[in-house]
Amino acid sequence: MGRYVIRRILQALLTLGIVLFLLHYLMALSVQIRGNPALLFFGGDRTPDPAMLEQVERLYNLDNSCYERVGDPCITPFVERLQDYVQGDLGTTLNGNRDVAQLLSIYIPNTLRLFVFSVITLVAVSMVLGTWAARHRGRFIDHTVRGTTILADSIPVFLILLSYVYIVAVPLTRWARGIWGTESFMGQVFRPNYNPDYPWTTIIIPGIIVGTVGLATMTRLIRASQLENLGSDFVRTARAKGLKPMRITIVHVIRNSMIPIVTGIGFLFAFMLSGAVLTEGVMGIPGMGRMIFQAVQRQEGNLVIVGLTVSAFVVVFVSLIVDLLYAALDPRIRYE
């Protein structure tokens, strides 16, 4: 077990290392092909003085000549970058000269909060629907659940969000405030935009909406595993033992069904990150997804690399946890 974990961690580190380098190379290529992002520093409609531009380039380590040669992997800046990262210096942004580490400390918790609600939603809804469909296998309810979840998955999540923000949120908020008052939980929860004064309340709705990403996949997984377990020999044994249906479900079905759920979450996590880009954009949540999108838009190389590496780290970490959870859930699996 211990050896397995160490091997997995080493593998994960290698993956992250490659990701880091590829990102660096992409950024370098983009600077080489598209021109210098230092121009961004000046913003607006005007042309900066070349001398000033040079200053800025030097400030952000963009003055290395490798950025002039298309295709050059820019190894020296990469090594310098790694050294900085190792020393805990994540650098600053071009636009506004902000400390990246500090930005992350604001953005990461927001995205995590979003994920908390979406994972809860996803698991709860798909559990209920999947179990329900499995119980009524082949009947109307089964088909309805399947159709509905597929339909829900067919509607792009950002369109659900936009519809919410533009159509539902305002009247709902006004209505709730009319009853419970502005400062109440209900008066805040439906707000069309995230508000930092209510970091938990105003993130619930977007979290729930992101939670519909992959609902069909998850429901299908749960339905399938429930069917497999319900029809399994050991459930028959349990019935032969004279156990009540409730106990059979709790003791003998749910734990066995957890395994695909864990896989599903590991698998869908990456999709949720994608969902976060759009959700955070639409709902104005200052989180990782939006940060990465804006950084990419602005050619903020350093921010892109740090942001995507963090996201890659999360994905790798989650898949590691999923594998370890397997072992915890299923005594048959022992990693050697």
Partner: protein, 555 residues
């Protein structure tokens, strides 16, 4: 099970937040019962810096102009500079200016606002190694060149592709001297009558000594001399609250505080405006239409021209655009009203001049008939000029920000419809567009937008079309024009200068190196709790702002 606990925690946390907010409300009179006061909720974009000279964008300026007081303040009606911190600003020759500062003014921390306060701010911005965005404002000052040296000769560079610069020896602008504690003397490199109009801008605000001692702290909690001050640090991601400074010497604002809520790129304050969480907001084109059809809401709109303008400029270095009639034909082929209908009526107004009316010296209608939609005349002009090359699309170059694509697509559609030529829209990313435009690499008309730095028609003429064919983006050069600009700069009075600049605009109109398309409009809606809402035409920010010095909260 753990997840359950987390939900409970979440709800508990939310409840707590609501509770504390409610308490704060009781003390700070958030609900603002009666007698003025209260907190106004403003939207704001991402602020780059809160120290004068470091922002250079509308959002930072919207905070800075309330936290700091400059030497002059632009009159909301006429736009002319009126002395604020300055006692008087004089010059015998428009080249050496003497600025007298009012006595007894202080910063929020008690430091005096004197000549040094301004000089240390200007020195900081003009010093090249500080790399501040508003550095270029001091380009006309004597001593600027020493602080912003040219690169070393190429053979002295370590890497032949990386230019190197000499060390900057001086940290002080030699053209600026403190005659006494409250008097500054500024020497310019050339006469410039409009100098006082520049002084209301952020680049010329004072900075406290304590601020320079710890820039990081000052960035978060600016030490200003204006009517509002921060007690808590401002967070560029989340916003912050500025309260009225009790010891402010001028007219105190009628409200208690302002809370800025941050809406980053792509966010929209409109929904929050409708729920009453934001007090002033500018809607998108679609929301504008539905807002105006709400009679109650339509009463709470402020509509006035914004001095920003949009033009379609020509690459005069390209042979296809040599004939002025081609340029006129394209201008007359643009159905400005039709384009407006596409991008949203009343967001813009059709423009037939190069300096908009709200600017000192603007409103000359210098383009006249050539900026009026007339497809037949356009076709005739094009025929006179020898027609358009067969089968070649007209390429229109734009940077792909905001709704540029929509606007120029509609312009392209209109040109194509009127002249019967096909067009191709070439969107480019901003930095790339900027470089291509400067390096004269475009082979078709391109987007050119301008927002003023200060309130003078000169700002719309000299920076865009001056400097000669090799310098400006259009590659346009006209000696009469350059002479007129120089003459105006040396004029004896401001009025005289303004008139001379207007003459220069007329010369420009003859040659038409660019086509005026639209002047922008503000369409700001405000909530019913506000009264006396005024919007300053200069630097109001694109998404909603008002004069915090005069606004009142009724309720």
């Amino acid at each position: 099970m753990r997840r359950m606990r987390m939900t409970v925690a979440a709800i508990a946390a939310a409840g707590l937040a609501a509770a504390t907010a409610a308490c704060a409300g009781d003390e700070g009179d958030v609900d603002g019962e009666g007698d003025g006061g209260g907190v106004i909720n403003m939207q704001i974009g991402e602020v780059r810096s809160l120290i004068p000279g470091g922002s250079g964008e509308s959002e930072g300026y919207r905070i800075i102009k309330n936290v700091y007081d400059g030497l002059v303040y632009y009159d909301i009606e006429t736009g002319e500079p009126e002395n604020l911190v300055a006692e008087e600003i004089t010059s015998p020759d428009n080249q050496t200016w003497t600025i007298k500062i009012k006595d007894g003014l202080t910063f929020h921390n008690g430091e005096p606002v004197n000549a040094d306060a301004f000089i240390r701010s200007w020195d900081r911005t003009a010093y090249a190694p500080n790399a501040l965005p508003l550095n270029y404002f001091f380009g006309t000052f004597e001593g600027y060149a020493e602080m912003n040296p040219d690169p070393l000769p190429e053979d002295q560079w370590a890497d032949p592709e990386v230019p190197e610069y000499p060390e900057v020896a001086t940290t002080h602008l030699s053209g600026v001297t403190a005659v006494d504690d409250l008097t500054i003397e500024v020497k310019l490199t050339a006469p410039f009558i409009g100098f006082p109009t520049m002084l209301g801008y952020e680049a010329f605000y004072p900075v406290a000594e304590e601020c320079l001692a710890d820039l990081e702290a000052c960035e978060a909690t600016p030490i200003g001399n204006g009517p509002f001050m921060f007690e808590e640090p401002y967070d560029p991601q989340a916003g912050g609250t500025a309260v009225v400074w009790e010891d402010y010497a001028g007219d105190k604002p009628k409200i208690d505080a302002v809370e800025w809520h941050v809406y980053l790129e792509g966010d929209d304050c409109w929904a929050d405006f409708l729920t009453g969480d934001i007090d002033i907001c500018s809607p998108s084109a679609a929301d504008y239409q539905s807002a105006m059809s709400d009679t109650e809401l339509a009463e709470r709109v402020i509509q006035q021209p914004d001095p920003s303008i949009l033009m379609l400029a020509f690459p005069l270095y390209d042979e296809k655009f040599q004939d002025v009639n081609v340029r006129r034909a394209i201008s007359m082929a643009i159905d400005r009203e039709g384009v407006l209908n596409v991008v949203g009526p009343e967001r813009f107004t059709p423009l037939d001049e190069w300096v908009p009316e709200s600017i000192l010296g603007g409103g000359t209608n210098s383009c006249g008939e050539y900026c009026t939609y007339d497809p037949e005349a356009a076709q005739e002009l094009l025929a006179q000029a020898g027609g358009w090359p067969e089968g070649e699309p007209l390429k229109i170059w734009v940077n792909d920000a905001a709704d540029n694509l929509d606007i120029f697509r509609a312009i392209g559609d209109s040109i194509s419809e009127s002249l019967g030529i096909t067009y191709e829209l070439v969107p480019m990313e901003w930095t790339e567009f900027l470089t291509a435009r400067e390096n004269h690499q475009l082979d078709g008309p391109f987007r050119s937008g301008w927002g003023p730095d200060y309130n003078l028609n000169e700002n719309y003429l000299e920076p865009i079309y001056g400097g000669g064919a090799s310098v400006n983006d259009q590659g346009w050069e006209n000696e009469a024009y350059n002479a007129k600009i120089a003459e105006a700069g040396a004029a004896a009075t401001l009025d005289e200068a303004v008139a001379l600049y207007a003459e220069a605009e007329a010369i420009l109109a003859e040659d038409m190196p660019s086509v005026p398309v639209f002047g922008e409009n503000f369409n700001f809606f405000y909530t019913e709790r506000l009264d006396n809402v005024e919007v300053h035409p200069i630097y109001a920010g694109p998404r909603g702002d008002c004069e915090l010095r005069t606004v009142t909260i009724t309720e």
